[in-house]
Amino acid sequence: MPIIETVDLRKVFRSIKREPGLRGALGALFTREYEEKAAVEGVSFSLEPGEVVGYIGPNGAGKSTTIKMLTGILVPTSGTVRVAGLVPYEQREANAENIGVVFGQRSQLYWDLPLRESFELLRSIYDISRDRYRENLAEFSRLLDLERFMGTPVRQLSLGERMRGDFAAAMLHDPKLVFLDEPTIGLDVIAKESIREFVARVNRERGTTVILTTHDLADVERLCPRIILIDEGKVIYDGALERLREEYGTHRTLVVTLFESYPEFAVDGAVVESREANVVRLRFDRRKLSAETLVRRVLDRYAISDIAIVEPDIESIVRRLYLEGYGGTARVEPP
């Protein structure tokens, strides 16, 4: 049985329509014209327990709105949603027992209190048994190295320390599933890695289902075998990350450093992506043209001092998808 199932989920926000400027603002005081904006427009997907899924999309794509409907914060305008068998907005409190949430932009911890006190408060809120609480806290504090700052007020912690505290806070009550909303935003490389390691471990050892929204696609590459791409409130891709890379990563870039500057540069079968000083980036489709042939064509015409082939990273694939839309066939059911 899937742990999350949404069918044709929609959320329309209603706001008062305003014309720009002071005049418009004054006008809005007297007229009640509403403007409707669909943030999520018919999203359907399902997740099996234990999956780690990257839920990605550009700003304003509807990621957070979807998450808020899954957590019971928002009531959907239409469509159905079930999380671990419950309807979040109707059984909000029961649903809250099953889920953990980390908002990278907003801490769940109590600003004025030492970390320890925040955890104690969460113990009361979730009614966690003493033993379970002690075990979890010991494990998390080992994995996330919390011991050093357990007694420091949260407002005095560094962002990395606070995020580690937030992760422990979200996991203390053994949630079946966790929502991570941009959990690595603003963190340095080392802190990011320790958080990723923690998520991977919790998923592996406890079977916790993870939904991750992020703009850092390195998080996704590291953690998520499956991704759901959304844009303008609609799912544009749902499937294996690998498959996306195969279908959309057919282009390679050949980076050529020229020995001297040529007024013109052109090679059959490849497109000049950019040219800065003597460095030219050529894009080609590896299914139509082998790298060897391309290199030979370049060498026939130009003198070069350096050459390299760049594989597409997930970021450029996703960028292309946003720009061009998904035309592939990989709209597959999860494995």
Partner: protein, 264 residues
């Protein structure tokens, strides 16, 4: 829930101790604030020894009754006032991801809350009771806590109703301010001194008169027959308070479903 509530108070005390200077200033302010209100009453009453049969001694009791109910609601439920701000800043989301009733979760959000105002109010009430010469018998001892609790509920019901409007309008500070001014101004004097319209407003629309005027009139035997109400009407405040809070809670539940959050 009980465990959470106890923790909440523990943390309030800890936070208060963490910001000692701020706490001391607040306490001083509370003393000065109520002190100057009472001093103002004294000055007015010096000019007019009695207002429609109410002397300064009576009014000290009137004020003390309001202060006690108001301090009780401030101590237990002041977090309700933060709801509009939390909605505006998006912080309200976190109330909704907890396995606890959202209103309880709001009320039990720790901050720097300390029962200093309540202690002050209780002390002043004891003084005013003696000073006013009100008859202290078994009935008085039994009824005062009920009436004070009722007054606190009236206060809470009105605050909760206003805070709930934030689900639609986000910012409601202007309305909150106006109502608070109304409460502070019109609970100071016996409502008999006001016009019929104002009395009607304070009795039937925003029933602040049940926080102190009607109960005080009952205890001090000052029946005026406003709107042909019998003196025992003063004992209705627990009922009115409960009804008001229940209505405000229903409204709150309705508003919760309209919550839109911030950002998309």
């Amino acid at each position: 829930m009980f465990g959470l509530y106890r923790q909440y108070w523990r943390i309030n005390v800890l936070t208060t101790l963490e910001y000692r200077a701020n706490f001391i200033l607040w306490s001083l302010f509370t003393v000065v604030y109520h002190g100057s209100a009472i001093a103002a009453l004294y000055i007015v009453l010096h000019e007019f020894p009695s207002m429609n049969g109410w002397t300064f001694r009576d009014m000290a009791f009137l004020y003390a009754l309001w202060m006690l109910a108001h301090a009780l609601q401030n101590t237990l439920f002041s977090n309700v006032d933060d709801v509009p701000e939390r909605i505006r800043e998006g912080d309200f989301d976190r109330v909704l991801i907890r396995p606890v009733d959202p209103l309880f979760s709001v009320i039990a959000t720790p901050g720097q809350i300390f029962p200093d105002e309540l202690i002050l109010a209780a002390s002043f009430f004891a003084l005013a009771t003696v000073y006013s010469g009100v008859r202290v018998d078994a009935a008085f001892v039994l009824l005062v806590p009920l009436v004070v609790a009722g007054g606190a509920l009236i206060d809470l019901g009105i605050n909760l109703g206003i805070a709930t409007l934030a689900f639609w309008f986000v910012r409601v500070d202007a309305l909150r301010w106006v109502v608070l001014q109304l409460e502070q101004e019109f609970t100071r004097y016996p409502i008999v001194i006001y016009s019929r319209g104002v009395r009607f407003l304070l009795t039937f629309v925003i029933p602040f008169a049940f926080m102190n005027y009607f109960p005080a009139a009952y205890f001090l035997d000052k029946h005026d027959g406003t709107f042909l109400l019998p003196p025992q009407v003063g004992l209705l405040s627990p009922l009115i308070g409960t009804a008001l809070v229940l209505a405000a809670y229903a409204f709150w539940r309705f508003g919760l479903r309209r919550y839109q959050g911030v950002g998309h």
